[in-house]
Symmetry: C2
Subunit: 274 residues, 2 copies
């Protein structure tokens, strides 16, 4: 690093992509974001969105993103193809595919768009919780490296409940979270945060079990200015499952700013074994 | 119709597709499913899934489906391309695209998979409501033709509240719904039902406004046998929005069987004007 270069953040290192042709980008996995198998799904999601955001034809800000985790991402290089399927006056629809060699490892669709002022209301307020300063940062003893990149402060349904070995009566986890190394919030960081909750099956069963996200859908309910206004502050996240059945369960997450602005929802389907 | 043909249902007529080559199908819009502009989004979603279900390489039952409404579907013929992006031992990832001429009008991804028995629990019970037999079927005076295909019985947040012209304090609609012409429930019908709620902006603002679904994600939380077991009975649906802001709002819907089995969730992002 020379004196003229800005210091890089471990998040920006992971989502960095090199353009290698029309609609095509190259990146590589980053050791600091390793999960049990392959990289943390949130960083993969952010990397897929990153391809759209640096595409020369991008029109508007992210509105929605659906990630499908088709297979494990191996350590090393990957290629992403991001292609506008249709560009309208006020929005744009995207196809995105990540490959390693000949194998598709992740697919995604996304919608970007222009936003205009309308009637506005947040109907779902955040739960009443203590401020993050009144809570202890969770220890990073979960056996996966990526959690070190975040300062998580559990309010309810924390890792202690998983470690307890006792089944829990409900699946809700509520936590404050921010980057361990400060970084201003943007759509990429928010994408990753939407996937930062451990699997609900762990909490209900009171033990880690084989589990993984199959598909993740994020709806960006805040405008870019609202997201940028969060700066490096904590976000409040809360997640729960509706149903566990036949090898799969869903997860519904919501992320608010400290002042109660609902920034995004993240909806997942996960496989699990029990 | 000859004596040997089974009588056709208006739903099956609409989702019928003719294979026209590898991964390719042809269909056409059906007048009975007309919405304000183009066909009802639920029937488009079901038609996209129908291409997967009749694809010779299909592996497993639908687990998740994300539909992106890229542009209006014009009256008449359309072509669908449905292609497996990756087939794993226990699941399969799909790309689906609907075109009219050179224009992409709808994109989708889907995941099908095999399911196995695991620990099972429905955490989100249905709201306590009167039986559908105690409620009146909604009249079909909403100015769109597709609603005639359903028997809807509003419990709360019905069309009367929209017609009232008064802003409502919250966005929840709860209703019983089934096909007006009886038809056994399957994944296609359930897909369409996930989109059968009128826009939440109508309810909050107390008047119909320009609004439309941009993206819809369905998670099938029930197995095929549970879905088939519903037969022609009513399902209970409940939907609400988390936030309305900057031209867009989300919607989160849940559909239960009469006996409280959570069959699916449907999560949308809609544009609206106010």
């Amino acid at each position: 690093m020379t004196g003229q270069d800005a210091p890089t953040h471990v998040f920006d290192e992971a989502v960095a992509l090199e353009p290698i042709g029309e609609n095509r980008f190259r990146g590589r996995t980053h050791a600091a974001w390793a999960n049990m198998v392959g990289p943390f799904g949130g960083i993969t999601a952010a990397t897929m969105l990153s391809a759209i955001l640096q595409h020369p034809e991008k029109h508007g800000d992210p509105l929605a993103l659906t990630l499908n985790y088709a297979g494990p991402v191996a350590e090393g290089e990957f290629q992403i193809e991001a292609r506008p399927a249709r560009t309208n006056r006020s929005n744009q629809h995207w196809w995105v595919e990540m490959r390693q060699g000949d194998e598709v490892v992740t697919t995604a669709t996304a919608i970007t768009g222009l936003r205009r002022e309308t009637w506005s209301e947040t109907e779902t307020a955040p739960p009443a919780v203590p401020a993050p300063e009144e809570l202890t940062a969770a220890t990073s003893d979960r056996g996966v490296r990526w959690v070190d990149n975040y300062d998580m402060r559990f309010v309810t349904g924390g890792w202690d409940d998983v470690a307890s070995g006792e089944e829990q009566p409900e699946s809700t986890t509520t936590m404050w979270i921010r980057d361990a190394q400060p970084r201003g919030l943007d759509h990429l960081a928010l994408t990753s945060l939407c996937d930062s909750f451990f699997p609900r099956s762990f909490l209900r069963l009171g033990r880690p079990v084989p589990a993984g996200t199959v598909t993740l859908t994020i709806h960006f309910l805040a405008t870019a200015d609202e997201i940028a206004a969060q700066g490096t502050d904590f976000l409040l996240g809360s997640v729960h499952s509706h149903r566990f059945h036949g090898n799969y369960h869903d997860e519904a997450a919501r992320l608010w700013s400290r002042d109660g602005t609902l920034l995004a929802t993240g909806t997942q389907l996960m496989y699990f074994k029990s």
